[in-house]
């Protein structure tokens, strides 16, 4: 049984799972091959109108990571993803997916890549089952005789077994999204690309997608997930890349991004000048003196030693807090405040 199973809360209409067909065998956690699941260098896309949608992006997505691809709407995320998936041709630069050049190697490599790009897209006049059968039949790398097992497993995984015969046009928004995820997981994958997977979902749906991402990652599959909301993916990502007006302005481990948010200490005191002197003696740079308060970057200094020194110096302390800039603040700092204002 695959570990990639949605929590039961997602499958409102789930039937008893029964025995999962052996189409989705457990896999070793870290597949051999290139260290980077996605690598690009100087990837650039200029639209016909002259607009630079993606500007020299050098992506490095390590194998086995959950890579959060962040940026406001219109920052070039989807265009980048379209180039990675061979849907759009780069103006210049190159990209490799699972070590294979794109878009030249698209047919060769994409059967190992599951994707959800800009929302679900299915044939409204076909049932959920027939829709998956359609995509399955289009895949030249899989055999027909195992199709039923594949489709059944995929539908079961997202809790759509009961709605399999229903026409897609009668699906709810959440069901459509789940069917798209089922399609992305039809065959065993090495990489899953999810473009705004939580768009249009309610908070519960968002949580379910997060749980799913965690489970996919637990199988050792690299996940590349884009979002314009940091909060949606910061809990699941190991790595992040931040886009701003077509440029990759940050890339690295999430922890590294967190470290750039240096914590500050804030002392509430009626003697701000004396407090600032103490902080300066402790080696905190440039304490900012405010109205009955002093703040400074904490650095390596322990907050408790600050307390002790303040008391020793006879500074009257009313309150002392350590404040970390939230990732959200950092994100906004990287990408700018408004959406689309710079375009």
């Amino acid at each position: 049984m695959s570990a990639t199973k949605l929590p039961t809360s997602m499958g409102g209409a789930r039937l008893p799972a029964g025995e999962a067909p052996a189409t989705h065998t457990p896999r070793p956690p870290s597949p051999p091959g290139p260290e980077l699941a996605i690598a690009s260098s100087g990837l650039t896309k200029r639209f016909r109108g002259g607009q630079l949608a993606v500007d020299h992006v050098d992506l490095a997505v390590p194998r086995g990571s959950v890579y959060g691809f962040l940026g406001p709407n219109g920052s070039g995320k989807t265009t980048t993803i379209r180039m990675l998936l061979g849907l759009a041709f780069p103006t210049s630069g190159s990209a490799q997916v699972l070590g294979v050049d794109m878009p030249a190697g698209a047919v060769r490599v994409l059967s190992r890549v599951g994707s959800l790009v800009e929302g679900p897209a299915f044939y409204p006049y076909l049932s959920g089952w027939d829709n998956l059968a359609r995509y399955d039949a289009a895949d030249g790398s899989v055999a027909a005789r195992t199709a039923k097992a594949r489709i059944g497993t995929a539908l079961d995984r997202v809790g759509l077994t009961a709605a399999a015969k229903k026409k897609f046009r009668n699906y709810s928004l959440g069901m459509k999204q789940r069917l798209a995820i089922a399609a992305a997981l039809l065959t065993p994958r090495d990489l899953i690309v999810l473009d705004e997977p939580t768009n249009g979902l309610d908070p519960q749906g968002t949580r379910e997608v997060r749980a799913l991402v965690r489970q996919i990652a637990a199988d050792g599959i690299t996940v590349f997930v884009s979002s314009h909301l940091l909060a949606e993916i910061e809990q699941v990502s190991t790595h992040v890349g931040v886009m701003r007006t077509g440029k990759l302005v940050f890339q690295g481990e999430l922890a590294a991004l967190r470290r750039t948010a240096a914590p500050r200490i804030a002392v509430r005191t009626p003697d701000p000048t004396a407090a600032a002197e103490v902080l300066r003696k402790l080696g905190l740079p440039d304490p900012a003196i405010g109205d009955e308060a002093v703040t400074a970057e904490l650095g390596d200094v322990q907050p408790e030693s600050v307390t002790a020194e303040l008391v020793k110096a006879g500074v009257r302390v009313r309150g002392l807090t350590v404040e970390s800039a939230s990732l959200e603040d950092l994100f906004v700092g990287l990408t700018g405040e408004g959406f689309d204002v710079e375009r």
Binding site: A104, A138, V142
Partner: protein, 336 residues
Amino acid sequence: MSNANNLETPRPAPPQPPTPVSPPAPVSPPPSAPVSTSASTSAPTTTSPNQEISPVGRHFTMRFLRNELRITFFRRRNQLLLLVVALFPLLIGIGLKAAAPHGGGGGSGPGSGSAAFFNQLAGNGVFLTFIALSLLLILVLPVVVAILAGDSIAGEAGYGTLRYLLTVPAGRTRLLLVKYATIVAWCVAAVFIVSVTALVVGSILFPVGPVTLLSGTTVSLADGLVRVLWVTLYICAAMAAIGAIGLAISTFTEHAIGAIAAVMILVVASEVIDNIPQFATVAPYLPTHWWNSFDSLLRTPIDTTTMWHGLLSFLVYAALFVSIAWARFTSSDVTS
């Protein structure tokens, strides 16, 4: 779809058409590869099971085609279209039966166009086939073909399913081939439905027997039916050429309706120009010019020259527009 490639920099080569043998990837044996241990122990293996099965073989293309055919012919809209096509011979048959002069005037000598067929009909129900085909050829059959062909790529783009088919990956060339094969199958189905229903209706409403041809000679019923078959196949070829034009136009837009309308405008324009004597010099190069040339099959001896001209014209149009579709589809961005 819109082609958003920059003109300043060279465009990357279009994706290679799928070939039965794909070269081994330089890197990356896939994860689920217990086989690789036996393949090589010292050096990292350069082949992978995924690459062994991923080449798009004929077998798997047939599976894709079967699925496409099933979706096409089971789609309610398409079934209704074929039903409407089948109703026309019935209506024409009933109308002509009601208007037919009593006593019949079979074998009234050579004629041209469907007018000649009308004279023959009262004498032989087989002629309802030729009447129905030549009448439906003007507008109904091209519409039915244009709907499917114009929808083929543009419809997928409109639904957004095109991006998912390509990331499955279906392969651009392979998808195009499957689409065109389905269009051809659709043309054959539509034309044969006209022929068969016309034959059935004709044999019910009118006498059936040895067939008197337009040249005045009489051939056996079996010979007549063989000629019906040839005429039907000839029109299938004509429709397949229009289907190729529709496929090509379909790769330039994500609005199926626009592609369908464009094909129809093209057909009607071609028919109009074909009927203006001043354009006689370009007439033979029009896509619709040879459509009615099948009437030489209804004379003895059969004058095959015009038919070969017609078939050559259809072949050139099909090849040209499938090539245009391929060039466009394998080099443009999918933005839907």
